[in-house]
Symmetry: C2
Subunit: 225 residues, 2 copies
Amino acid sequence: MSSATASETPAADRAYQHVKTGLLDGSFPDGELLSEGEVAGALQMSRTPVREAFLRLQSEGFLKLYPKRGALVVPVSAGEARAVIEARLALESFAIDKLAIEGGEAMAAVGRELAAHPACDGTDLTDAEMHVADRAFHATLVSAAGNPVVTDLYNTLRDKQMRITSTARTHSARERITHQHAGLAEALNAGEAEQAKKQLREHLLGTVRALGIAGGPYLDPASGA
Amino acid sequence: MSSATASETPAADRAYQHVKTGLLDGSFPDGELLSEGEVAGALQMSRTPVREAFLRLQSEGFLKLYPKRGALVVPVSAGEARAVIEARLALESFAIDKLAIEGGEAMAAVGRELAAHPACDGTDLTDAEMHVADRAFHATLVSAAGNPVVTDLYNTLRDKQMRITSTARTHSARERITHQHAGLAEALNAGEAEQAKKQLREHLLGTVRALGIAGGPYLDPASGA
DNA sequence: GAGAAAAGACTTGTATCCATCTTAGATACA
DNA sequence: TGTATCTAAGATGGATACAAGTCTTTTCTC
C-alpha cells in the first residue's frame, strides 16, 4: 500500500481541488495563463487528470481554455459580480414567489426554518463558518421552492460568487447580514412575499456594496431611477 | 493533407456533437448506460476525446457518470420538464423586470425588435426553422436584460429543454405560439411589464401542456389555487 | 439443486507517447 | 536600428498502454 499509485481520492479530484483552491486564495491571480503540465508537475501526476480538472473549471466559469495556448484565469469584472448577484436575486425571488403561491403555511414553515438557522444569529461562528452558514441559509430558501433545476443553477452561481468575494476581500458586516437574514425569515413567516423580496433585494444590494460595486438600477432602484 | 488524422473540426467536438445528437433524436434512450469505448469505436477515434465530451455533457446535465461503470443517460421526468420551464419563466421574468426598471423606452425598443422577429409571424418556416426562431426569440428577450450570467444560465436551460421536447414529440401549435409571441412583444411595446409577464407565463404554460404535463401551481395558478 | 467462490468480460482512471500548433527569441538583412 | 525569417521551446490534442474496479457468469463444493 506504499505504492505511489494508491491514493485515497482520485487524482482528477485532487487536481480540481488544488486548482480551485489556488483560484480562491489568489495563488493563481486573474489573467494568469496556466498550463496542464505545470500543475501536473506540482501535484506529481500526469497531465490527464489535470486536463479533466481544467475542463470542469471551465464549465464552471473559472477558467477559459485557449486551444494550444493554455488556461486563462478569467478575470472577474465589477459588472460580472453584479450580474451574479442579480441572477441570485432573480432565482431567490422566484423561490419566494413559488412559496407564496403554494400557500401561507408553506411560506411560514420555511420562515420558521430560516429563523432557526445559525446565519440568523451568527454568534459563536468564525468568519469561515459564517460564510458557510450564509450559503446554507440561502440554499435552504431556494431548495424550499422544490425546483431542482433552479437549485442547481443557484449553486453554480454561488460557486462563481465565491471566486469573486475572495478576489476582493469582503469586509463582511456580520450584523447587517444576520439582521437582514432575520428580517427575511420574519417576512416569510408573516406570509408577506413582497416584503420578503424587498428584504432580499436590500440584502443582496448590501453584498455588492461590500464588494465596492455600485448596485445598478435593478438591485438599487433608488439610485438609478 | 490527405492523412486520416487531419480532420476539420477537433475530435472532441465531433464526439460531443455526436452524443448530443444521439441524445436529442432518441438514439440513446433514457436510462441507457453507454461507454466511452462504444462511441469511440463508432466514431473511429480514441477514448480521450469521447471522455472529454462525456464530461461536458455531464456538466450540462445530460449524462451522469458513474465511476468504473459507465455514463447514464439521465431520464427526464415530467417533474423535471416542469422545473425547467419554471426556471425559464423565472429568468425571462427577471429580464422583463429589469427592462422595466431601465425605463419604458428600453422596453419598447425590445418590444419592437421582438415584434419584427420571424417567431412572431411563422409563415414560410419549416418546423425546424420555427424551433430555431422560437429559441432566438426568447434568447433575444433574455439578452436584452444585459446580464451575461443570466443569459448563460438561460441557454443551458434551453439545451436541457431541447432534450425534453425531443423525447416527447411536441405537436407544436404554431398559431398559439406565434400569437403569444406577438402578444408578449405588444405588451413590452406598451411598457406593461406585468402584462408581459402574464403573457409569458401563459405562453410557457402552453409549452408544458403541449408536452402533456400539468403546469402546477406556479405556472398555472388557476388550477392549484 | 443451492449457494459460495472464482474466472472472465467490460468498464473507467491514469500514465505515457507522439503530432501539431503557437509563440518567443535569436539571427540575418536592409 | 528596425524588420523579416528562422529556430527552438512549450503548449495542447489525441492515441495507446496498462492498472484497477464492477458486474455477470461459470464452476466448484456441499
